[in-house]
Symmetry: C2
Subunit: 388 residues, 2 copies
């Protein structure tokens, strides 16, 4: 376990307070990061249905999942034996039995009143079928959307969480340097990606890295005109632009980072854009501190780049931290118009003003934590258009 | 694009035939592997809502997704410009606007009759909220579960798909060898995992590898008592058992493989179990051919190990192939009692008789394709308990 038991209990206390405010007696938690946050549970078992059941008046969550993963719950969580329920394998990817029914049966053994149930409606691991099955099994219960209940608690990091995020930052610095070292004319994109992975996982002499919630995003040439492409067999050519959107992960706490590299002399246009974006990023970072809102940050960015050629319609950043595939973002606050979330100390964001034109793009980002009087960036890595 | 246009059209033809049989006029496809299968679409953009809309009487699918990913659709699919619809960024992770409403609005522009709609109810990328929003936006439509409609088409692989799966097999052989070479007393688990990743992605001189849909599963010591744990900072010790459940991936086509390693002399008990499992595996492989059913395969396995100490309650294998995180399995056929799927040539399975006891386990698997008169294993790698 990577945190003191008292920290897990504090997280649960905050969760139950929110449940109480929202009139939720039972919370079904299927988001792997939320499960980990409350119980420590860790394993690549989220491809079958599993979850935690949080009862408003019990201190300890109940884990349910596939029987063959239940020793994983015994090994990675602080839960007692009576709160671990494994389901038989005939529930797995079956068209006649669904694991949500097993969860409901477990609840029936433990709780009298199955009235107000919270579920994570817009989470990858609570499918449409989970919802339909729950309504079928409990037709008289009230089911409420609690997608953001735990992620909102997760937004403000503890000191120990910040330590892991700083360790992740040490890892991403190495991964980024590996990419920049590896990429040159004639090298296959996949060979550069292999170097990145090696650095992400081998980490430092003090600690190794975990898998990241998003694969290395590292398109080149015209593939930099879009946001989320990975690598191919292609060999880099002189004149290529290469995106590097990478992360380090430590106990599933992330440090994402984007940089852009030009193989050979970049165009004047790209150099101009790089200058505008990096200036805008830093002027915005200078403005950030506790008490301002997410939309104010975006406004400051917009103001910083006004008059330039750079147009940025999409959000310029988002809250991030502990996560599992497919996303390291928390899906809570975004740096964009209309987001009135007020910054508090130890909220953590990835400021990511990615620019995508029709034929190429530019990315240069910084992850940071909010402090009382400013913000602290996690990563020490030069901000510039890299040229090989 | 990694297949001939005619192959994509054939896949769509089969999909539309099934839609017709099931009375589905519009199919909303959000599963990334299904999207790739029909259109070629590829990108780590599945963390925001996206999909294909398949209309019963149109030859070409419609892509919808985040505007910043729409150039990815232009670059990786065969779809024409009129069938690519990007949504503005204020739909992303919003509590007031949902991308399914954008998909519905797109449909309304293109189709008169929005009556019979198929959706992938039990798929990670069609959340409970997607379903609820769809019902809210189209209260008079009939929504049918089509989770397995495309995966059932995907079960039988084409010759070109088999070629990619064989390339993936070359990659996993290298990844497995890297693991066995790297693991020894005193080495950190994470350093061995880094070597595995390096081999998975750098591939061979002829081709590089893709990210796999499941991270390397490589627990040691008591963590081998359960199924899906990855690595830690821990240093291997003499007496450790280590699981290696790895894959190679080529254009997102997989070759999964499991082996077990003992650091130092294994216990007599583990040696006995290894013998039983490997004998049982091979006697079962000898039995497999087109025309028999999945439950008959499991029956043969059960018979092969009867009288031994080995007990295996969970399924012993599953259909696999093209996939994205979090699973390389197709969620169609499983090798278990009650699964009456009849094998056809070029169906592909991972025969994976993982054994987990209270304190340790043993894994030794083979991926194979069904042939007219038998089966062909994809991987050439010794079947044994490895000892370092």
């Amino acid at each position: 376990m990577f945190f003191e038991l008292s920290e897990y209990k504090e997280r649960l206390q905050k969760t139950r307070e929110r449940m109480n405010n929202e009139g939720i007696d039972i919370l079904i938690v299927t988001h792997p990061a939320n499960m980990n946050y409350l119980s420590g549970y860790d394993g690549w078992s989220f491809y079958t249905h599993q979850g935690l059941l949080i009862l408003i008046d019990e201190e300890e969550p109940i884990w349910f999942g596939r029987e063959q993963d239940s020793n994983g719950a015994r090994l990675t969580t602080w839960l007692s034996e009576k709160n671990i329920y494994g389901y038989p394998d005939d529930y797995v990817q079956s068209t006649t039995k669904h694991p949500i029914s097993f969860a409901v049966n477990t609840l029936k053994k433990r709780v009298k009143n199955l009235c107000n149930i919270g579920v994570e409606m817009d989470n990858y691991y609570f499918t449409a079928k989970c919802f339909e099955q729950l309504l079928e099994d409990l037709p008289s219960s009230i089911v409420k959307d609690a997608t953001l209940l735990i992620p909102t608690v997760r937004q403000i990091k503890s000191e120990q969480e910040i330590i892991y995020m700083k360790q992740a930052a040490r890892i991403v610095e190495r991964a980024m340097q590996s990419a920049i070292d590896a990429i040159q004319e004639g090298v296959r994109e996949g060979d550069a990606a292999a170097r990145v992975y090696y650095s992400q996982i081998s980490g430092t002499d003090e600690f190794t890295g975990d898998y990241t919630a998003i694969a290395p995003i590292m398109p080149s040439a015209e593939r930099t005109s879009t946001a989320h492409l990975t690598w191919t067999d292609r060999r880099y050519k002189r004149g290529d632009i290469v995106f590097l959107e990478l992360a380090g992960s430590r106990h599933k706490y992330h440090a994402p980072l984007s940089r852009t590299l030009s193989i050979g002399k970049p165009s004047r246009e790209l150099e101009d854009i790089a200058k505008v974006v990096i200036d805008g990023l830093n002027r915005t970072l200078d403005f950030i501190k506790a008490g301002i809102s997410c939309e104010e940050i975006e406004g400051r960015w917009r103001e910083s780049i006004s008059g330039s050629k750079v147009v940025k319609e999409s959000r310029v950043g988002y809250s991030y931290g502990l996560n599992y595939p497919p996303d390291w973002g928390e899906h809570t606050a975004s740096l964009r118009p209309g987001d009135k979330t007020v910054l508090k100390p130890n909220m953590t964001f990835h400021f990511m003003p990615g620019i995508w034109f029709d034929a190429f793009g530019f990315e240069n980002s910084e992850p940071f934590r909010v402090t009382e009087n400013g913000c602290e960036t996690f990563v020490k890595f030069p901000q510039k258009l890299f040229i090989k």
